[in-house]
Symmetry: C2
Subunit: 144 residues, 2 copies
DNA sequence: TGTTGTTAGTTACAAAAGCAACCACTACAC
DNA sequence: GTGTAGTGGTTGCTTTTGTAACTAACAACA
């Protein structure tokens, strides 16, 4: 009576995805949090500028599926840390082109290095084929 | 000069995992949030009790890798919504066995049904083999 | 018995996220 | 031009989360 429907929580994809995402994020967080006092969204913004080059906040919002307040505050924090510069576009003064300062670039170099090593470490626990399938399925699920 | 290290952000597993987890969570959230005014941790606690049967808050913490304050608050909220009951264990009065009320059980039935359908929908975009590999690699990454 | 250490769970306060209103600017209609 | 609608970005306020300190109960042992 009142028998459970045979629903397996640990197999539920949104749940599993969150567990995996949190576990991997928690470990990587140490790098940018301990060393540079950065928050998650700051790290994300920094990496977008580092990987793709200068762009506006709006472009980061769209690329990262991040709400504009998150980006705005992250940009403010990175700017206060002297990691990025904002330059108003003269032809449309609503836009600000964001770009890394020399300091921001060196922080990015350091962190992207750590990221690459960490990614390699994660993948080392898997076969090559698993990694390929994992990345491609995650991309589909993320709607990219 | 200042050339980017060839670091591919969209392939970085912690980033990709978060994107996928957020996308899938956001859609499923509609079910428990709109309909029952529940928060993420409340949903998780409800499902643990529904899937595994009565247990203590501590057991949920361990099973779900959730901090005890999160569980404590979720239990408080679910209790206020009359979805679960707490019963002190006489042999060790620090422990409280949590169990779903009739109402909680019916909410769980409804939500686990929706979850199952949503999971099936997510998997429908993938091949059977992809799903198998995805689940197993996520379990490894989650440290389960 | 008391004293010390540990565990389950709560609570208070600080940090962060979410949401909606807002400002400055542009685009386009009239 | 003037008015209206839309866009990029910021700010203020509320809700949620994180952290640490706390209570109550138990265990072990002198």
């Amino acid at each position: 009576m009142t028998e459970k429907p045979d629903f397996a929580l640990p197999d539920f994809l949104p749940y599993l995805l969150n567990q995996a995402a949190e576990a991997s994020s928690a470990e990587f967080q140490q790098h940018y949090r301990m060393k540079y006092g950065m928050l998650r969204n700051e790290w994300r913004v920094l990496f977008h500028l580092g990987c793709y080059g200068p762009m506006t906040a709006k472009q980061i919002c769209d690329l990262a599926s991040l709400h504009k307040t998150k980006v705005s505050r992250a940009v403010g924090a990175l700017s206060a840390k002297r990691m990025l510069m904002r330059e108003t576009v003269p032809t449309d003064r609503r836009n600000e082109i964001l770009s890394l300062t020399r300091h921001g670039a060196s922080v990015f170099a350091d962190l992207s290095d750590a990221a690459q090593r960490y990614d390699a470490k994660l993948c080392a626990a898997l076969t090559v084929e698993e990694v390929v399938v994992l990345r491609s399925t995650l991309r589909k699920l993320a709607g990219l």
